[in-house]
């Protein structure tokens, strides 16, 4: 018999002995006992009306959504609809916001500052730098996200998304990943920061990291304008006018598909190399379908996802705007700091089939992909010394006329190769700073955040270098 007060160490040794006698079955017996009890209690409490079919609609729906014939077409159709709604629906609000924030408020602020007697540099930094950058990000980012997130969330609330993971899991398991990665990937097409957060649904840390690191290959909303513009201006114009629209569209879609392909390839590579580990336990539960509460979902998804991401982007874009304006207006010697930087980086840029302006733009616009185009235009005008265009040094801008934009860029030395490589680089480069911060928040690891930031960048350099070298070797440039 045990003593009145046994020492803890006795308890531990007693446990060890008893455990040895029991063998490995303890967990089995316990689970069995628990479930037997649970079943008995549930049975006593729950009444099923006799004869009535239960969960019938659910079963039918499931059979349809995962069927060999209809499963994939329905999936493709649904997601095409979501993207189409997002792009088409965001058009008008985006231009309205641009009209308001850029064409109306911006000049008003400038004249207000002038009448208040602000020195040129103060008005420049604050209004042309900080405000303009922020306004741009809001105008470009807000409308598509306000449409994409609620739509995606509705699908999620309804219960459809686990079925998507179920349908696609085989592809991901071949790449050493989890089917749920398809969901964070889809979310990434809206915004990569949100996509990274969405990886929380993946239980295994290893597979979660794979999903986080490859999320950037999903082209977020902020990068679509760059791709569309470049495709229209340089790819579409390289083919007969009748085909221009279709070819440019195909080019953009091609890049997106390339992104998806890269996701699988890089996932596979990661799970064979730095993320090699034991396969984790696969588990995927398919919950019952639930009718979504549409209004509530719209409200919470706006607050939850859209505004939070927007807030982070805004706070990032303000310092970016300050930097952009400043480097363009600080003169060292006979040229601005920006011009010096551009000419310094230019050789490297040309090697990659890009140029110094593009690289500098990507450096200063790390906070947000949305301001890449206006920054490129501004820097091109600045460095190429074009007069009569643009709004001044350090002031980002865009033009309504496609031809005018193309002229500027060509004056900056752009060729078709530049365009193609820019599209590739836009797909394969480091995540924006909001996303990098989010990755750190989710992983709490400097090491993996660095990998997630630098791996796409390194790959991007590699790809553009290869394309440029091949093009030059073939005498295409």
């Amino acid at each position: 018999m045990s003593a009145q007060s046994a020492a803890p160490i006795d308890v531990l040794s007693a446990a060890r002995d008893l455990r040895a006698g029991l063998g490995e079955d303890l967990h089995d017996h316990l689970s069995e006992a628990l479930y037997t009890d649970a079943a008995r209690l549930a049975d006593r409490a729950v009444t099923r009306p006799d004869g009535r079919p239960r969960f019938d609609l659910d079963r039918t729906l499931d059979r349809l959504l995962t069927s060999r014939v209809w499963g994939f077409p329905i999936m493709a159709a649904l997601f095409t609809l979501v993207f189409w709604f997002t792009i088409a629906g965001a058009n008008v609000p985006s231009s309205m916001l641009a009209n308001l924030l850029l064409d109306t408020v911006h000049p008003a602020l400038k004249s207000g500052a002038a009448s208040l007697g602000f020195p040129w540099w103060l008005s420049g930094v604050l209004i042309d730098g900080a405000y303009l950058s922020m306004a741009w990000v809001v105008a470009v980012m807000l409308p598509p996200m306000a449409i994409f997130f609620p739509l995606f969330t509705l699908l999620e609330d309804f219960g459809y998304l686990p079925r998507v993971a179920f349908n696609l899991d085989r592809l991901f398991s071949r790449a050493g990943a989890h089917g749920k990665q398809s969901l964070s990937m889809m979310m990434g097409f809206g915004c990569n920061a949100a996509g990274v957060v969405a990886t929380r649904v993946i239980d295994s840390p290893r597979e979660r990291l794979i999903a986080i690191i490859t999320n950037n290959f999903a082209i977020c909303n902020g990068r679509w304008p760059t791709l569309i513009m470049v495709a229209t201006l340089f790819i579409g114009t390289a083919v007969p006018a009748a085909l221009a629209g279709v070819i440019s569209a195909l080019a953009v879609v091609g890049i997106a598909v390339l992104g998806v392909g890269l996701t699988f390839v890089v996932s596979w590579a990661l799970s064979r190399t730095i993320l090699k580990g034991e396969a984790s336990v696969f588990s995927l539960e398919l919950p019952p379908y639930r009718p979504p509460r549409v209004l509530q979902t719209l409200y919470t998804s706006v607050i939850d996802r859209t505004l939070i991401v927007l807030w982070r982007a805004v706070t990032m874009s303000i310092p970016a705007g300050v930097v952009i304006w400043t480097i363009s207006n600080i003169t060292i010697g006979d040229a601005s700091l920006a011009e010096h930087l551009v000419s310094g980086i230019n050789p490297f840029g040309l090697l990659l089939g890009l140029n110094g302006v593009i690289l500098l733009a990507y450096i200063v616009a790390i906070p947000a992909n949305e301001i890449i185009i206006p920054t490129i235009l501004m820097l091109t005008v600045l460095t190429a010394g074009l007069s009569g265009v643009g709004e001044g040094a350090g002031v980002m801008f865009e033009l309504d006329s496609d031809n005018a934009i193309r002229e500027i860029l060509q004056a900056g030395g752009w060729t078709t190769l530049t365009a193609v490589n820019l599209m590739l680089f836009s797909l394969i480069h480091n995540p924006c700073s909001t996303t990098i911060l989010t990755i750190y928040n989710e992983t709490k690891s400097v090491k993996w955040t660095a990998v997630a930031a630098l791996l796409p960048l390194g790959l991007g350099f590699l790809v553009t270098l290869t394309t440029a070298t091949i093009a030059r070797a073939l005498g295409l440039v």
């Binding site: 049975d43 059979r63 069927s67 060999r68 085989r170 696969f282 995927l284």
Partner: protein, 103 residues
Amino acid sequence: MTEHTGLSDTSSAPATLADLPVGQAGVVVALDLRGAERRRLLDLGLVPGTVVVAEMRSPLGDPVAYRVRGASVALRRDQARQITIADPEHKAPDHTAPDIEAT
């Protein structure tokens, strides 16, 4: 993968969950897994004696969703292959029969 018409064949290898055709039921006999895998499946209710029904297969062939204790759980083939099952004896519906939603 060969389709078995039922579990009553007399082949030497015991039937596994991977052999269960869609729409059919089987009783879990044993789990040939260890460690975390085993615990997770036990936690989900795949305890020996539980009746499971293969509900649907992914269009790409893997995984398959099984109804276990009132919930729908997807398992990959290499997991299902390590769960041996037997024909459920025909008996009056009880709490473990998944086609009657006890929960």
